[in-house]
């Protein structure tokens, strides 16, 4: 068992409301990702679950039991800190052994467990070093080993890959997913990297300014963002948003363009809207019945694809294209829209105005 449930977490630091009613339900064995930009309250959420932060309001239940007032040591959780927090005076070996020493395991048990962990994370060579003699990637592995060396109720990980270079980060992503699968343990994983969230998570909770914006599978969050902010935060290149309103069977843009009114939308006539279009749902190479007039603004070749920036009215719309696409800035062109995959948001509230279950 290893369920983690947080309900209505509130925490303020002076005038800063770090958490404003955060609720999470992490099922047993899930890889649960908390995604949000820096300052969203992700670290505070994890620390609250771990018992390191005294809450203003809210409760934490572990395995169904109220653990809100429990000391961190009583919660049976392991955490990887954003800064790793390796003990500077201790060797790597002693760092990894620390949770076992606290539980008074025998020396032979400790030696066996540390050895197994160091093999799993490829840090056998480092056991006698001190944290100051490690690179960022090595410290990160040691921090993971210290967390993984015992079998707690759940693992809490605070942006463990953020400080790594890209190549190592991609490697470790796969590695962590593999470890999660082999342990079958509950992971609560915090990141500001939407790629990490989409590629690793069973479930994602999107956090912004101390409130949960949406909880769902990566597909749900990507394909059916609950609001304009989630749509903008998840996905790369970012979604393009165009101001418009519905008028009869047409969608009329602020800059004069029109598109057929999507059947899935619950928007009212005249209601101010934002049309959200992802780069991969647009094309400058194919013709279709729904299209926007614009002019070429610039090209961003990315190797496997090229992102075409098209100016529609005053908005830059990002369109994904084959790497062979060419054009000169200022050239007029049509952007074909796959309306079935577009998103509509209320311009005032930011909330999605799509039919549920689309």
């Amino acid at each position: 068992m290893g369920t983690v449930a947080a309900h209505g977490l509130c925490k303020s630091f002076g005038k800063v409301q770090a958490l404003d009613g955060v609720s999470l339900d992490v099922p047993d064995g899930a890889f649960f990702v908390v995604l949000g930009p820096s300052g969203a309250g992700k670290t505070t959420t994890l620390r609250a679950i771990a018992g390191l932060e005294k809450l203003d309001a809210g409760s934490v239940h572990l395995d169904g039991r109220d653990a809100t007032g429990d000391a961190p040591a009583e919660r049976d959780l392991a955490m990887v800190f954003q800064s790793y927090a390796l003990y500077p005076r201790h060797t790597v070996y002693e760092n990894i052994a620390s949770p076992l020493r606290a539980r008074r395991c025998s020396a032979s048990e400790i030696a066996a467990a540390v050895e197994q962990m160091s093999r799993l994370l490829h840090i056998e060579r480092l056991l006698q070093r001190r944290p100051a003699q490690l690179s960022g990637g090595e410290m990160q592995r040691v921090a993971l080993a210290r967390a993984l060396v015992r079998s707690p109720r759940a693992f809490l990980m605070d942006e463990p890959l953020t400080n790594l270079d890209l190549k190592l980060r991609v490697e470790m992503r796969t590695e962590l997913t593999r470890i999660h699968r082999s342990l079958g343990a509950t992971f609560v994983y915090v990141t500001n990297d939407q790629v990490e969230a989409l590629s690793m998570a069973d479930q994602v909770a999107v956090l912004k300014e101390g409130t949960v914006q949406q909880v769902g599978t990566p597909t749900e969050v990507y394909e059916r963002p609950a609001n304009q902010w989630v749509a903008g935060f998840v996905g790369s290149p970012p979604i393009s948003l165009l101001a418009c309103h519905a008028e009869g069977d047409r969608l009329v843009g602020a800059q004069g363009w029109t598109l057929p009114r999507p059947r899935w939308s619950t928007a009212q006539d005249g209601q101010p809207l934002l049309l959200g279009l992802r780069a991969e749902d647009l094309s400058v190479e194919q013709r279709g019945d729904a299209s926007l007039p614009g002019e070429l603004y610039g090209l961003e070749p990315l190797g496997d694809r090229t992102v075409v920036d098209v100016q529609v009215g005053t908005t830059i719309v990002k369109v994904k294209a084959r790497p062979t696409v060419t054009g000169t800035p200022g050239e007029r062109l049509q952007v074909t829209v796959d309306l079935d995959r577009a998103h509509l948001f209320d311009a005032d509230t930011g909330l999605s105005v799509s039919e549920a279950g689309r």
Binding site: M79, F81, R89, R103
Partner: protein, 303 residues
């Protein structure tokens, strides 16, 4: 990542200011600097030199006019008199030195034992009106001892602490505590609290986490702070002279002062006692010289 004494008190800004000045100055400036510093050093050190000379002169040379700086007969008689009494037993001064060691040592230990945990708590926990509390603690140091010595004298007489070493130990500890808390809070602030957080998740209690991970990193800071407290207690005069009277309790400062006066003053003995008294302070000041400088520029360097 270990915090050493040198790192813990950041000397960075001070050093940065020094470097460009030296570069701009060139040779001419440094000659002038050396000349001025030499004059200053002579003026400051002359009394010290005189004290040392007097302590090894015979009594008739002490009174010679004009004063002899060279070619007098060297004697160690005064130093012997500091420690050995006229009857061949222990001198009153040597008892006073022992009292000073005991009182300064015990009060420093007490202030450290109380101050370090307090500093840790102020650094780590959300305390109501923390700034006001810290300011209040510091403000007790604004008052010169002479302002409070009369009320303390009266209180001590009531509770029977007058003319006792315990009384001096307690008052010095109380006087050193605010300083210890303030200085140690600076050192604790420099140690990331996440080591303790990580240890608590490993399964240790908060106090165990402090003892295992934070305390060892604080040792250099504790040593520096304790030396400051030790020097204060060692030098303290006002409380000592008001609150103690008998030879068996007196510390060195009032005991040395007591040598002056009467019909004749044995200046050789006064000088020798002063040299012995000054030595520990010089040694300790040398040990923490970096922190003495940091202490002077505290406002400029610290947040």
């Amino acid at each position: 990542m270990a915090v050493s004494v040198d790192e813990a008190v950041s000397t960075g800004p001070a050093r940065d200011r020094g470097r460009p000045a030296r570069r701009r100055g060139g040779r001419g400036r440094s000659v002038l600097e050396v000349a001025l510093l030499t004059v200053l050093a002579v003026v400051m050190l002359f009394p010290v030199l005189w004290m040392i000379e007097t302590s090894i002169k015979e009594n008739r040379d002490v009174y010679a006019v004009p004063a002899e700086f060279f070619g007098f007969t060297v004697t160690m008689e005064h130093f012997k008199d500091v420690f050995v009494g006229p009857d061949g037993g222990r001198s009153a001064l040597s008892v006073a030195f022992l009292n000073s060691v005991l009182v300064a040592g015990a009060s420093t230990v007490l202030a450290t034992l109380l101050g370090v945990p307090a500093a840790w708590a102020y650094s780590r926990f959300a305390v109501k009106a923390k700034k006001d509390q810290l300011f209040f603690i510091l403000s007790t140091r604004f008052m010169p001892p002479v302002v409070v010595v009369i009320p303390i004298f009266l209180m001590y007489r009531q509770v029977g602490l007058i003319d006792s070493k315990l009384g001096l130990i307690l008052i010095y500890a109380a006087y050193n505590l605010p300083f210890t808390i303030w200085m140690m809070k600076g050192f604790v602030d420099e140690v990331p609290s996440e080591y303790e957080d990580a240890a608590m998740l490993d399964g240790y209690t908060r106090l165990q986490a402090f003892r295992r991970h934070t305390l060892p990193l604080l040792v250099p800071g504790i040593a520096a702070t304790a030396v400051f407290a030790l020097i204060f207690s060692w030098n303290e005069f006002v409380f000592a002279i008001f609150l103690t009277s008998s030879d068996s309790v007196r510390t060195a400062p009032p005991a040395i002062a007591g040598l002056i006066g009467g019909t004749t003053t044995d200046w050789g003995l006064v000088a020798a006692a002063s040299v012995v008294f000054a030595l520990p302070v010089l040694v300790f000041a040398y040990l923490v010289r970096k922190h003495l400088i940091a202490g002077v520029t505290l406002g400029a360097v610290r947040r």
